[in-house]
């Protein structure tokens, strides 16, 4: 018998995961702050819950995926929150990219309620989910990890247990700093080639097929020619992750020179009015600084 699932936070990523779980035949009760956004999922068979607590009460395993630490506290804490609704023995799988300490604090609160929390952030994009290629990192007790593993494998093929509570979000933040840095370096390469006299499309084609062409560069590279609609991962979100990395680096005593430089360019993007644009807009920042029209 399949477990009853709950899901709180049905944005671009959360919504895509719920759609995939529904396609795999799971029963999902979901909640989103703005109900209208959940409508397509309701039409696909999802039950809507009025509060995060309702979603937790209806489920054996409850997931959440929200924007940042503050949004996580808003759905987890308080009388209408997830923690208040958890049934004994249920597992809470938290997929947001948030501060590791905040994640561990919530894990403690969940533990006091007689349940187990896992932090399970993902590496990938909406496209990666749709292609069934998402990788998921998991932190928390191994026994709970083994119980939810088959379910996580329904979401994506690469599921890795990295250690205790909070360590998966730590790993995720460490991974994500490279998204900012690699995109920044890609822009530097592209503008250098373009100003040397190589057509932008030709240079991009070479860069998307060379030794530095990561999956991220392969799917985001074309955004330098035409940004995606809707936006996948905006400048604010990218900077949130870089800020988490830089703060973590300072706390742990790990200097992060390339992350810090890249973060500065995302501050410039915000300063130039691009906060809500896809993070690849850092190309426009660099193009302006190079006297090139983007």
């Amino acid at each position: 018998m399949k477990a009853a699932l709950g899901f709180v936070g049905l944005g671009l990523m959360g919504g895509a995961i719920v759609r995939r779980l529904l396609e795999k035949g799971h029963v999902v009760t979901g909640h989103n702050r703005t109900r209208s956004r959940a409508q397509p999922l309701v039409e696909a068979g999802m039950r809507f819950a009025q509060t995060p607590r309702d979603a937790a009460e209806a489920a054996d395993i409850v997931f959440s995926m929200v924007t940042d630490t503050q949004a996580l506290r808003a759905i987890a804490d308080g009388p209408g929150g997830i923690v208040a609704g958890l049934k004994p023995g249920s597992i809470y799988v938290e997929m947001s990219t948030v501060d590791a300490d905040a994640s561990r604090e919530i894990a403690d609160a969940v533990s006091r309620a007689g349940c187990v929390m896992l932090d399970a952030p993902v590496s990938g994009s909406v496209l990666t989910i749709q292609r069934g290629e998402l990788s998921i990192m998991v932190g928390g007790p191994r026994e709970a990890f083994e119980r939810v593993r088959p379910l996580l494998l329904d979401i994506g093929p690469k599921v890795t247990h990295v250690g205790g509570n909070g360590l998966a979000v730590s790993m995720k933040i460490a991974v994500n700093l490279s998204i900012g840095v690699q995109m920044q370096a890609l822009c530097e390469s592209l503008l250098l080639a373009e100003k040397a006299g190589i057509a932008r499309a030709t240079a991009l084609e070479v860069l998307m097929n060379c030794a530095t062409a990561s999956p991220m560069i392969k799917y985001r590279g074309p955004f330098l020619l035409a940004p995606p609609d809707p936006v996948w991962f905006n400048v604010n979100m990218m900077q949130k992750d870089l800020n988490l990395a830089v703060a973590m680096g300072q706390r742990l005593g790990v200097p992060l020179p390339s992350a810090a430089v890249s973060n500065g360019m995302f501050t410039a993007a915000r300063g130039m009015g691009f906060a809500e644009k896809e993070m690849s807009v850092v190309f426009d920042v660099m193009a302006r600084l190079s006297g090139v029209s983007a």
Partner: protein, 304 residues
């Protein structure tokens, strides 16, 4: 010029190769395996006995290589080494015959390469700059990417031979532009590696085992081919550097000079280059540039 030694199957060419180091030697070996006749020269002959054993003819000077062949390749370390093999009475230029194609695969300054192409043209021959993206392993796997700059007609003639070296051959424009493209793409190697090292140390000091962090990172969305093969070097450096700190810094310096000349700011390139300087200062100049992990680890108070 290009004759069919195996009629109707593969066109074999009479090729020359000057500069048979780790990469050049591997390219020459591959050309021999594809059935081409190769005449080669290297400053130190003892280093190419393995190629002679594989059928390569040895020439005493770069000039003799050029005189004996229809298509001459070269691959050397830097602009200075390139001048040493092309200039003077024993250089490639002195031996070029009208109609010969000279393909330089070194990563050198684009302006120097362009100036050289003018002199090659004056000798009635044509030059292409054809730097590669990859390493001796990618080469052996047959997945090397080659960028080409120069005239389209010369490119079309050289193309079948270049495809025998690697499957991805792209003409990016006129003389010197393939080098510009190569220098632009190579800055990403060092920058991506520095960001990778930052991530490993951040994960490790959080309490995640280094091997687990490397495993996760080399399977994530940021895992470029370079990260997949070089990432594991933060566990154990290779005995022989694939691409040492000096070579990497040479390319970064070329990018930074190009950026200043063309007015393109390169903030992550400049930052990363400082870590290569630190690696040299700490005695790691001849190690694979993945050794920047050691520099950052030292700064983070972590043992390698």
């Amino acid at each position: 010029m290009i004759e069919n030694q195996t009629p109707g199957v593969i066109p074999m060419a009479n090729l020359g190769y000057v500069g048979l180091g780790l990469m050049g030697g591997a390219v020459a070996k591959r050309l021999l395996e594809k059935g081409h006749a190769v005449t080669g020269h290297n400053r130190t002959r003892s280093k190419v006995q393995w190629l002679e054993a594989a059928g390569m003819r040895f020439a005493q000077t770069p000039r003799e290589v050029a005189e004996a062949t229809d298509m001459v390749f070269s691959m050397v370390t830097d602009t200075k080494a390139l001048h040493a093999i092309v200039d003077g009475p024993d250089g490639i230029l002195a031996g070029l015959r009208p109609g010969t194609i000279y393909i330089d695969m070194s990563t050198v300054d684009a302006a120097a390469s362009r100036a050289l192409s003018v002199r090659v043209a004056a000798a009635g021959a044509q030059m292409l700059d054809a730097p590669v993206s990859g390493n001796h392993i990618t080469l052996k796997q047959g997945t090397l990417a080659i960028m080409v700059g120069g005239q389209a007609e010369a490119f079309e003639r050289a193309r079948p031979v270049l495809l025998d070296i690697g499957p991805k051959v792209t003409r990016v424009g006129a003389n010197g532009l393939a080098l510009s493209m190569k220098i632009a793409s190579n800055l990403g190697l060092a920058v991506q590696m520095l960001a990778f090292c930052e991530a490993v140390l951040l994960a490790e000091k959080s309490g995640i085992a280094r091997s687990v962090a490397v495993e996760v990172l080399t399977n994530s969305v940021i895992a470029s081919p370079m990260i997949k093969y070089r990432g594991p070097f933060v566990m154990t450096l290779p005995d022989e550097a694939w691409f040492n700190v000096n070579m990497m810094q040479k390319d970064m310096n070329l990018a930074l000079a190009m950026g200043q000349q063309l007015n393109v700011p390169l903030p992550t390139t400049a930052t990363t280059n400082e870590f290569l300087t630190a690696a040299r200062a700490m005695g790691h100049a001849d190690k694979d540039f993945a050794v920047i992990f050691d520099v950052l680890a030292e700064m983070a108070g972590v043992k390698r």
